[in-house]
């Protein structure tokens, strides 16, 4: 089976800092891959490159087996790749609905649409459906998201990505600010999204969450992938060992 998304030998230099040093990565359709590693291992950098936000210094990216070059997040979205960034990338002064549809506004029919008028009711309905599907507690669809709790904001960002993704979703620490119930909702959502045939890449520092939701686990250490395990074949001890660089597979 060809991975829906594959990266080969990705390197990234920030000045003299080597954030990635020949990193490989792959994820299949309908699969949940957890990407784990210590702070600074390069997980977020890899996500930014694979989502078109930053260019790689070198390396290759394959989508459905074919080489692609992403020059912007718009390219990635056109391929059906959505991302929840670690900083969430929401506009604090806009409402959940406006954030949900930012850059993809539903316009009114006919002349009004051409003049730039938006179909607000249908965007509200779409947002409400998406939030309900996730069980996100968005009490006020009109208030600025900056005034909402960290968990609510995270729920909005995750719901936005899940609602638009066709092929791949990257979730960079989507449960970091969440309470027990909302974490459970996000993990359930991850499964639901992958059941629809979408590949989910899940970054987390929480080993229990990783073991709960992932099909495969890829471990990064100092800018590259050092190990890949199927969930059935591994243990938390083994994962922690790999994260500290004590274990590494030859063909990682």
């Amino acid at each position: 089976m060809t991975p829906v998304l594959e990266a080969k030998g990705i390197s990234k230099l920030y000045g003299h800092v080597e954030a990635l040093t020949g990193a490989n990565f792959d994820v299949n359709a309908g699969e949940v891959v957890a990407l784990i590693g210590d702070n600074g291992a390069g997980k977020s950098t890899l996500v930014r490159i694979l989502s078109g936000t930053e260019p790689a210094t070198s390396g290759q990216m394959l989508f459905d087996g074919k080489p692609v070059v992403l020059t912007s997040p718009v390219d990635a979205r056109a391929l059906g790749i959505e991302t929840v960034f670690q900083d969430l990338a929401l506009a604090a002064h806009l409402s959940p609905v406006q954030n949900m549809y930012l850059g993809r506004e539903v316009m009114r029919k006919g002349l009004a649409g051409l003049l730039g008028f938006m179909d607000t009711p249908s965007m509200r309905k779409g947002s409400r459906d998406a939030f309900e599907k996730l069980g996100a507690t968005v009490r006020n669809l009109n208030g600025p998201v900056g005034a909402m709790s960290g968990g609510q904001r995270q729920g909005i960002a995750v719901a936005r990505a899940a609602a638009w993704a066709q092929k791949v979703v990257f979730l960079d620490e989507p449960t970091a600010a969440l309470g027990v119930v909302q974490t459970k909702n996000v993990l359930e959502l991850v499964r639901r999204v992958s059941d629809e045939g979408i590949a989910v890449v899940f970054i987390s520092h929480s080993m229990p969450h990783v073991m709960e939701v992932a099909d495969r686990i890829q471990v990064m250490w100092r800018g590259r992938r050092v190990a890949t395990y199927r969930k059935e074949d591994t243990s938390m001890e083994q994962l922690v060992a790999a994260m500290t660089g004590a274990v590494s597979q030859v063909a990682a």
């Binding site: 936000t53 912007s72 997040p73 718009v74 979205r77 991302t83 960034f85 900083d87 969430l88 990338a89 929401l90 506009a91 604090a92 002064h93 806009l94 409402s95 406006q98 930012l102 850059g103 993809r104 506004e105 316009m107 003049l115 730039g116 008028f117 938006m118 607000t120 509200r124 409400r128 939030f131 309900e132 069980g135 996100a136 507690t137 968005v138 009490r139 006020n140 669809l141 009109n142 208030g143 600025p144 998201v145 900056g146 005034a147 709790s149 968990g151 609510q152 904001r153 969440l178 309470g179 027990v180 119930v181 909302q182 459970k184 909702n185 359930e188």
Partner: protein, 366 residues
């Protein structure tokens, strides 16, 4: 996460989790702010009306105040858009003068005193303003020079060009129609043409800002330009359009100014941009970007004019107006910031118009 979050999210599906507030789309904060400013204006008017019952609220006096505010409103609409993106435009006073000068010269050589001459002058003035606005926009968005510096530069350059073109002497070739029908004319009864023009521009601005995708993207860029970029907004192009709009309106104000003062007022516009910025800020538009309204700007621009007029009527030296406006400006923005800090909790360390666009101007928390 609070207990109520857990309670309402309980059961996983959370069908009760998403509730709709009945309100419209304006944020509550913005509404409170607007209300507060309207109240301030109403109280000011009421005080002067009580002190001078026979002269303050007469049609003649109201007409004068409205007329004096009209040109500022045209400028203020553009400024509101610019400031919502986190930018600033210091050049509008000079651009107004430059556009007036060019329009005056073209109308003088075109000849005549009729509507055709006025139309030619209007087109020329708008085009001149648009050109300066585009230049500002390109330098801000593409060359990444901070807006404060770019527009400080064009403030100086546009005025310099205007003085070169006129050798520093004001031109007075406004055609009669422009002066009689626009500058001092009434549409009907005591309703000045200038006020109707300002009203139309303001309503156009309100619709554009609050009802269209263009307006939404303006807020989005001011709120978090990087987030906008990540969802595919063409941030640079949008910024160019915003500065172009401000320039266009300054050019348009140039022809109105010519009709009102019958002169290019070369030496008289050095405080215009600052006065307009003060009105915009009093009206609740945040200099940090992401928040603001055209309606607030209109009210915010009326307050200094009403104060000035009222002080003259009650025989207080009109210079007190400047003192009071300064105090009002600082107080309103201070109170607003306190409330916002409590509401949004976002920390912003530097004013965005001092920085290059889109280069880590602030620590975003959302």
């Amino acid at each position: 996460m609070t207990l109520t979050d857990i309670a309402s999210a309980g059961g996983g599906g959370g069908s009760a989790a998403v509730e709709d507030a009945p309100a419209g789309r304006l944020q509550r904060i913005a509404r409170v702010q607007a209300l507060q400013i309207v109240l301030l204006l109403a109280i000011t008017v009421a005080v002067f009306a009580i002190l001078r019952p026979n002269t303050f609220l007469t049609p003649f006096n109201i007409r004068g105040m409205v007329q004096n505010t009209s040109i500022y409103i045209v400028l203020g609409v553009g400024m509101t858009f610019v400031i919502i993106t986190g930018g600033i435009d210091l050049s509008i006073g000079s651009v107004l003068v430059f556009s007036g000068v060019v329009a005056d010269k073209v109308m003088a050589s075109y000849g005549g005193q009729g509507w055709d001459t006025v139309l030619v002058g209007t087109v020329v003035a708008c085009a001149s303003g648009l050109a300066w606005g585009l230049l500002n926009g390109v330098l801000v968005a593409k060359a990444k020079v901070p807006p404060l510096i770019v527009t400080l530069g064009s403030l100086s350059a546009a005025l310099g060009f205007a003085q070169i073109l006129t050798k520093g002497l004001d031109l007075r070739d406004a055609p009669r129609t422009l002066v009689d029908k626009v500058g001092f004319g009434n549409i009907v009864g005591q309703v000045p043409t200038l006020a109707v023009i300002a009203g139309v521009v303001a309503i156009g601005g309100i619709i554009l800002l609050h009802r269209t995708r263009f307006g939404l993207h303006t807020y989005a860029i001011g709120s978090n330009a990087e987030a906008g970029r990540r969802v595919g907004l063409k941030v640079d192009r949008h910024l160019i359009k915003i500065y172009a709009l401000a320039g266009l309106l300054a050019g348009f104000a140039g022809i109105l100014n010519l009709g009102f003062f019958q002169s290019t007022t070369i030496g008289g516009q050095s405080n215009t941009a600052l006065n307009v910025i003060a009105g915009v800020a009093i009206g609740g538009t945040s200099l940090f970007g992401g928040v603001g309204s055209v309606f607030g700007t209109v009210i915010g621009l009326f307050i200094p004019i009403v104060l000035q007029n009222g002080f003259i009527q009650i025989n207080v030296q009109p210079f007190w107006q400047q003192v009071v406006v300064g105090a009002v400006l600082v107080t309103v923005v201070y109170v607003d910031q306190l409330r916002r800090a409590a509401a949004v909790g976002g920390r912003k360390h530097r004013l965005p118009f001092l920085s290059q666009r889109g280069r880590g101007t602030r620590e975003e928390t959302a």
